[in-house]
Every structure is written in C-alpha cells, then in structure tokens.
C-alpha cells in the first residue's frame, strides 16, 4: 500500500515535471495520425491478461508469433519480386536464380495479362512485356517454366483478376511435365477485393470474381492441396494512402469475406483456411507497424476460432509476407531510402513476418538497378545476422506502449468491421465506395500535413537540398518484346485446333451461366491453347463488366 502511494506520488510528480518542462512545438501523433501519450505505464494495461491477450509463440491467439521457436527455428524467407520482358527472358532469369540456390520463384506479369487482355488488344498497345512477362496462351507458360522442376520449387504468381485461368495454364504446364498436382507448391495472389478497393485491376463485377475464387479454393483443397490459393493483401490498400488501422481492418475484412463465401458454397472452413495467407505493408512509423502485425494475428485467430468455428489450429494462423512501403520512398535524395527501408524491415521482423521484400532505394524513380537490389537484400541480412533481434520471439511483447497500441489497433479494426456489417458487408461497402473514400480521406489528410510541414518527409518538405537536380531516368524498353509476342500469338492461333477452342469456350460459358466449378472447364480451354483474352471475353458475355463510380 505504501508502495502504491509512492507510485501514485511519483506519477503525479512526473506529470507535473512533464507539463512544466520544455516541450517541442511538434506533432506527436503517429504517421497515421493516432494520438500518442508521452509515457505508457501499467495503468494503460489495467485489463491486460497475458494468457488471454498474448499466449505463447505458436499458441492461440498467436499475438507473439505463429511458430514456437520463431526465428531461432527458421528465418523469414527473403523473397524479392521481379519480372521481365519475354517468356524466354523470364525463363533464363529463373534458371539463373535456381542455380544461385534460390528455392522459390515469383512471377510478375505485364499489364495486359493482369487485366486479362491479349497482347493484341487495343488497350495493350505499348504495354506488352513492360512490367513483367506477357502470357497469352499455354505456349507462353510452357516457355516460362521450360526445364523448371515444378514439383521441387515453389512458384508464386502475382495475378488477380484472371488468376483462375492463369493458374489453369500453370497446372496444364505441370501436367505436360508429368508433375502430379498434389506436388505443386506456391502462392497465388488472387485477391480481387483489394483490387476493387485499391489497385483497380478487375474484369467483372465483384460477385462473379468471388465465385471464381471460391471455385479455385474448392478445386485446390481437393487436388492441389499444397498451394496457397490466395494472398489477402493490405499492401496495395496502404500504398493507396490508408492508415495502418484501415490497412489492417480492410484486409482482414476481405479475408472474412472469402471465408464466408467459401462456407456459403458448402466448403468446410478447415478444408481451405489453412491455405489462406496475407500480405502486409511496413511503413515508417516503427511501433505502429509492429502493433498492426501483432494485432492482425490475434484478430484473425479469434475470428476464425470463435466466429467461423474453425477447429484446426492451422486455420487460425495469420501467416504473412511483408513488403516495405514503396510510398514512403522519395525521388529526392534517394540514398535516404536505404535508411527508411531498414527501419521498415526491422518493424516487419519485430512484427513476426514469414517472408519479406525490401524495396530498393531507386524504386521511386524506376525499375531498380542491380546495386540497389543488392543493398536491399543485404539490409535483410544485416537484420537477420548482425542485429541480434532474431534471438528472441516477439521482443516487444509486454511493453506498455506496444500492448496498448496493439489493443487500439484491434479496437479500431473491430469498429470498421461493425461499420462494414452495417453497410451490408464488404462487397456492398465497395459498391458504395466506402473503403475507397476512407482511404482517400486519409491520403488527403496526410498530404495536407506534408504541405503544412507538420509531418516530415526528409528531402521533400524539410531538409531539402536546393542544389539537387531531380532526374527521372527514362524507362528502357526492349522494342522487340511486343512484335515477338504478337508473332507468337498469331502462330499459336494459326496452329491450334480452332474448332476445339470454340467448343470449349462455349462449354465454359455454359458452366459460367450455371453453378458448376469453373476450374475444370478453364483447364479444358487452356489445354487447347485458348488465349487469356478469349477466356476473358467469353466470361464477360456471362458475367458482364464493372465500372467503378469515380469516388474521391
């Protein structure tokens, strides 16, 4: 009791000193605009119950990590995303990476492929092979994976709107190599809701896209059980300007929507939930990001167990990839980006990520140079092997501040879940522009703070180097990529069995109009070399297209 009195006195004294002392005229909120108190004490954690709120690493609710040993057992995977020009160039790069000892591949597609368009579509002009590989038919996929042992490497594919038929081409390629589907490993991004919210690459209205995702989950849980069917992504939501809490809330709400759709289609939650994975951003506000990642694990585990009734502990795990924030990088004084990325990467590691991509310092301007990519990778290695942070699981667990922030993140996410429910669920909310407008509001608030100078972006609004001449390098485009790709597409169309293609596209339309699982008819189409764009057009005839009302 005496001790308590002393403590109360000490706290009162500290507060008095705090207010009487000198305080800088500065903004003491987080990057997302959250109020931060000058000190956190046990008083902030009055209701804190370590057993209920934290548990142990590898135990429910997984606040402290998804594995018992965390990085003592296995370090995170250093996965750098890359993409290039033609199918042949991509294949060469893959062989090079495998020879260097890399065990996972990550495929970047060009813009037309991401929108489900063929290379000869009018909107594809000038875009073919620019930001990744162009895939029009199975013939391209066969070249991309030529002499790559698909049963031994894990292959991630960053594709969303046409993910089901691109994945069908991938399966057909494995088939030709004689690899059984149950040996194929990797991750498909396949997250259409964040496309409607943030990245804006869709083909149909939301519902038919969701059906394709459910069909793929059902098909894979039976036939491709080792493949992660979806990577539920907050990254793009954050890049579009959301706050940390909005990224957390909208991403997990997207995840819940996929779970609900699959359950409504008759799937057992434990048959697909273990294959769901996540993809988060790591921005500059160090503690806020760590709290966000810890909260993500706890919220996902609680909802999956309590609300959706999952019984398999693997269904409760929020396993995630993290990429450092591209939008935090500046074109001005680009070397400073190395420091920003290092801080963001450290937050991702202290937040317990399973894999990590660190951005290169020149990414605000152009595709990264080799030197910049190497520094980015070395940054991860310094954290992994020199900093000592990997010796211990969840080193910030129990910190008054981190636990308070984690709780607050969870509360804010739950508030958004309630709002979304009142709007009729995530799909209805997207159609009403709710998440889009929330994100734009946050992006605008941030930009105003930058303009006022209360938030800092070094080299942009403070500590500007007046002598610096900002030079944006011109993108170098291999001019042969587009004509080569168009030639191959023409040859494939000439040599294939046109009749079979027509029949199978008709069968696909018929299935789309009904309720059959669409993956088998998609496989039938790609096996006879129907193109990405032909499949898109056939499905548009049944599903229609979608135009977003322009919200701001």
């Amino acid at each position: 009791m005496t001790k308590n009195r002393d403590d109360t006195d000490n706290k009162a004294l500290w507060l008095k000193n705090y207010w009487e002392g000198r305080l800088r005229d500065a903004d003491f909120t987080t990057l997302s605009g959250q109020e931060v108190e000058p000190l956190y004490t046990p008083d902030h954690l009055a209701d804190f119950d370590p057993d209920r709120d934290l548990g142990y690493p590898g135990q429910y609710p997984y606040t402290r990590g998804v594995h018992a040993s965390m990085y003592r057992g296995r370090l995170w995977t250093k996965r750098q995303f890359a993409g290039m020009g033609t199918a042949e160039q991509t294949n060469q790069r893959f062989h090079f990476l495998l020879e260097k000892g890399q065990t996972g591949l990550s495929v970047a597609f060009d813009n037309p492929t991401l929108y489900g368009r063929d290379s000869d579509h009018p909107l594809s002009l000038g875009e073919v092979g620019k930001t990744g590989v162009a895939v029009d038919t199975l013939a391209d996929m066969e070249i991309v994976f030529d002499r790559i042992p698909l049963g031994d490497v894990s292959t991630s594919m960053t594709i969303n709107a046409p993910a089901a038929w691109i994945f069908a081409m991938f399966l057909a390629t494995a088939e030709k190599q004689g690899i059984p589907f149950d040996r194929i490993r990797g991750t498909l991004q396949n997250d259409i809701l964040k496309e409607f919210i943030a990245q804006k690459e869709w083909i149909f209205p939301p519902e038919p896209h969701l059906r394709l995702i459910t069909d793929l989950m059902a098909f894979c849980s039976e036939q491709v059980p080792q493949y992660n069917t979806i990577s539920i992504s907050g990254y793009h939501i954050r890049e579009a300007g959301s706050t940390a809490a909005q990224e957390l809330a909208f991403t997990l709400a997207d995840g819940f929507t996929y779970v609900e759709k699959a359950v409504a289609a008759g799937l057992d939650v434990d048959s697909f939930a273990p294959r769901l994975s996540f993809f988060f951003n790591s921005h500059l506000d160090f503690f806020e990001e760590i709290a966000k990642l810890r909260a993500a694990r706890r919220i996902w585990a609680r909802h999956l167990r309590e609300k959706y009734g999952a019984r398999n502990p693997r269904s409760w795990l929020c396993r995630f990839h993290v990429q450092t924030a591209g939008c935090s990088l500046t074109a001005q004084q680009p070397e400073n980006n190395i420091v920003r990325t290092a801080l963001e990467a450290l937050a991702a590691v202290l937040g317990g990520c399973q894999s990590l991509h660190t951005n290169s310092m020149d990414e605000a301007l152009a595709l990264p140079s080799e030197k910049a990519v190497e520094i980015a990778l070395r940054t991860q290695q310094v954290i992994a092997f020199e900093s000592g942070v990997t010796n211990i699981a969840d080193p910030l667990g129990g910190s008054y501040f981190i636990e308070t922030l984690t709780n607050r993140m969870e509360e804010q996410a739950e508030e958004y879940f309630s709002k979304l429910e009142r709007l009729g669920g995530m799909v209805a909310a997207i159609e009403q522009g709710f998440p889009q407008k929330e994100i734009t509001r946050s992006a605008y608030e941030y930009q105003k703070a930058i303009s006022r100078g209360t938030k800092y972006h070094i080299g942009v609004n403070h500590f500007i180097n007046e002598q610096e001449k900002l030079e944006i390098p011109v993108l170098e485009i291999d001019e042969n990529v587009e004509p080569d790709q168009l030639r191959r597409l023409t040859e494939v169309r000439r040599d294939r069995d046109t009749n079979a293609v027509q029949l199978r596209l008709e069968a696909l339309k018929k299935s789309a109009a009904g309720r059959d699982n669409l993956i088998p008819p998609l496989l039938e189409c790609v096996r006879v070399y129907a193109s990405v764009g032909e499949i898109t057009d056939s499905l548009i005839k049944v599903f229609g297209t979608y135009r977003e009302p322009p919200f701001y």
Binding site: K200, L365, K448, N461, L470, V474, E548, P549
Partner: protein
C-alpha cells in the same frame, strides 16, 4: 466571369490504377474553391475531351504513372485543338522524365507535376493561370 468557379476535369487515361494522387488533388482543388469533375479510371483521350466540352471545363488534368504520358497528353492536346478548346489549360502529373516534360510543354501543355509536388502549389498554379486568362480576355 470573375465570380464563376474554376471548373476542372480530372481523369486517368490508359491501363493505370494508381489513383491516390489524382484523388488527393481532386479534394485539394475543391478545398481551394474549384469545381472538380473526376472521370475515373481507364479513360480514353476522346472521352476526356468530350467530357471537358460537355462540362465547359476551364482545365483538364491528367494523371499518368504508367509511362504512357507522351501518347496520352499529346492526343488529348490534339483533340482539344480539333474541337476548338485549345484555349483551356491542359496540365497534370505523374512519373514524367524531364526530357519528356520539356517536349510536352513545347506542345502547349501546361506545367506537369512530379513526385513530391506540393498540393497547394498545384492549386495556386491553376488559379494564377485562370487569373491571367481572364485578365487577358478583359484587355482584348
């Protein structure tokens, strides 16, 4: 004329979903007292110029981060001249190399803003352009 709000048509041409910047600018211009019509994503140059005519806009603003700025800005400018609205301001922003920027300015396109541009500076630029335009009209 002097009491009339400045009307701005904003659009994203081509296959480019990066709409964070254009939406922030839309809000900022509204806050600076302008009337903003944001057309949204995947707009063709024809649709943009038609909308500008229909809305009787003073300013067209394009946001291009996909690298196709040369094609898009040039085509919109050509269509503006064809349809007799060459006296309106065509401006915008995105990832646009200096060399390209200079070439576009030579074609009669206004200032183009890059990464890190100040949102108030953009609004002030439009206001100044509108003032000099109405001053010019008053003189003749």
């Amino acid at each position: 004329m002097s009491g009339k709000k400045i009307k701005v048509v904003l659009a994203k041409p081509g296959l480019d979903g990066h709409d964070r910047g254009v939406k922030v600018i839309a809000r900022s211009l509204v806050e600076h007292g302008m009337e903003v019509v944001y057309l949204g994503l995947q707009q063709t140059p024809e649709a943009i110029v038609n909308a500008a005519i229909e809305e009787d806009a003073d300013v067209i603003g394009l946001s291009v981060l996909s690298g196709s700025h040369m094609t898009q800005f040039k085509r919109v400018r050509e269509l503006m001249l064809e349809h007799g609205i060459g006296d309106r301001l065509l401006t915008g922003g995105g990832i646009i190399p200096d060399k390209d920027r200079d070439r576009l300015v030579e074609l009669g396109i206004g200032r183009l803003f890059g990464p890190g541009a100040d949102i108030d500076e953009i609004a002030n630029y439009i206001k100044e352009w509108a003032e000099s335009r109405s001053a010019g009209t008053a003189e003749t």
